[in-house]
């Protein structure tokens, strides 16, 4: 075998099809494993529905350009899906029951302990949305199946209700992605998405009303009542959605007429989200 031979022809022959047959037991084992493996269902929940509870609020919410800082889990939404938690919002009025939002947490907020060390995490400053946060430089030991350098994608434009409420199409969803600060831990096939959003709260709208609006339009899968646990972010009282069926965990904090939300796009990653939250510093 010399260099004069055609290496490509040799490889064509050598690597060519030999009728590889995967043993049935491998398929069977895989299918048995998926029986206990939940699919990752994540959603950028945007308040895409016009509020139904108050015409004044509807007008106000429509008029106010939302500023959104998203730190949390982001799924790749598919157009036309109605049953998945990532189901796209329908332009037609929904007959599905709206999820309910429980009253504000009554117990005193207390920061949950964070078992995930943030030592060595790198700073990220969002001038656009006015917060600082730290993120792990790699996904090592953080739940991703494989390790890779963390990819940070700052938002390239402000999030706005008017332009981002429709995420039904691929193009619309991609536009929305451009409006969030996004941290992707792990390589393809093993990503943990971390996102956040914050929005100006229309005058006169309470926190519960805002959240009710925000959670409207969720698919049936996600439509159970939201339950909250108090949480503290940079010394400010917030709330954490603790029973999200859509496989992400998301925290909200309201102050100075704005709401900031931080979430994570993978089940059972609350500790990691809380580690992120422990590093948040608001600029104002």
């Amino acid at each position: 075998m010399t260099q004069t031979r055609d290496i490509e022809r040799l490889l064509d022959t050598w690597l060519g099809d030999d009728g590889s047959t995967l043993p049935d037991r491998v398929i069977d084992a895989s299918l048995a494993q998926i029986d206990t493996t939940p699919q990752r269902r994540v959603l950028i929940r945007v308040p895409w529905r016009i509020p139904t509870f108050n015409n004044h609020a509807r007008m106000a919410l429509t008029a106010v350009a939302a500023v959104v800082v998203v730190v949390g889990g982001i799924a790749l939404l598919r157009p036309g899906t109605s049953s998945g938690p990532g189901g796209a919002p329908s332009s037609a009025p929904s007959t599905e029951p709206s999820p309910s939002v429980s009253p504000s947490p009554s117990t005193a907020p207390s920061p949950a302990p964070s078992p995930v060390s943030t030592s060595g995490w790198l700073p990220f400053s969002s001038d656009r949305y006015g917060y600082q946060i730290r993120y792990p430089p790699t996904s090592t030991g953080l739940g991703a199946i494989e390790t890779a350098a963390t990819m940070v994608t700052p938002a390239s434009r402000d999030w706005s209700l008017e332009t981002d409420k429709d995420i039904e199409s691929q193009a619309a969803f991609d536009r929305t992605l451009a409006a969030v600060d996004l941290f992707v831990l792990g390589p393809d096939g093993s990503q943990i998405y971390v996102y956040a959003f914050a929005a100006s709260v229309p005058p006169g709208m309470s926190e519960d009303e805002w959240l009710t609006t925000y959670y409207e339009g969720r698919s049936t899968v996600c439509s159970q009542a939201v339950e909250w646990q108090p949480i503290t972010i940079d010394g400010r009282t917030g709330r954490l959605d603790v029973n999200d069926r859509c496989a992400d965990e998301q925290a909200f904090v309201f102050f100075d007429g704005r709401v900031y939300s931080f979430g994570i796009g993978q089940p059972n990653q609350r500790a990691l989200l809380e580690a992120f939250l422990s590093t948040v510093r608001f600029s104002q």
Binding site: T2, R9, T13, I27, G86, E146, F173
Partner: protein, 183 residues
């Protein structure tokens, strides 16, 4: 057909996913076996890939790209398998060259051995791109789509993989010649 099955599986239909798994299983195994050069590790990689695919499927935005997406997931698993094997200093059970490739009059047993040795010298990234090209028969643009890299990058990687393979074979030939002289 795949599109309907993929969309059903994205909605949580396990039967649909089972059909997809059986449809694509042999091809996945063929890719993994060629990259990893090990039957058992190839089976492990395919099994892990199918589980990851099930879990991540709702995130696949274009069902028509399921095949490429699945191959990409598998190749990432093969990279991880290779790294894990290195970390654990596993003595890799060699894929028998005679058993892995159908007898072919165009390549002698000695040549296949030499190809095997040369291929093993390549990093997994170069093995993968050669497998995509010469096993799946993908064009550079299709390789780029599968690996999620620009077209030009795919062409460049393919060029360097061929060059590396040629260099590995030449090094092997020189080594064999030196052994012959010293014998």
């Amino acid at each position: 057909m795949d599109r309907d099955l993929v969309e059903a599986a994205q909605r949580g239909d396990r039967e649909a996913f089972a059909i997809l798994a059986r449809t694509h299983g042999d091809r996945l195994f063929g890719i993994a076996k060629r990259i990893l050069r090990d039957h058992d590790r190839a089976e492990d990689a395919v099994q892990q890939t199918l589980v990851i695919a099930w879990r991540e499927l709702p995130r696949l935005r274009d069902p028509d790209r399921f095949g490429a997406w699945l191959h990409r997931t598998l190749i990432n698993r093969c990279y991880a398998e290779t790294a894990r094997a290195r970390r654990l200093s596993v003595v890799v059970r060699e894929l028998s060259p005679a058993g892995s490739v159908a007898p072919d009059e165009l390549i002698s047993v000695a040549d296949r051995d030499q190809l095997e040795r040369g291929f093993r010298r390549l990093p997994p990234e170069q093995r993968a791109i050669l497998v995509l090209r010469h096993y799946l028969g993908l064009e550079p643009a299709e390789i780029a789509e599968t690996l999620g890299i620009p077209d030009g990058t795919a062409r460049s990687r393919l060029h360097y993989a061929h060059r590396a393979m040629r260099a590995a074979l030449e090094a092997d030939a020189r080594s064999s010649a030196a052994e012959g002289r010293s014998a």
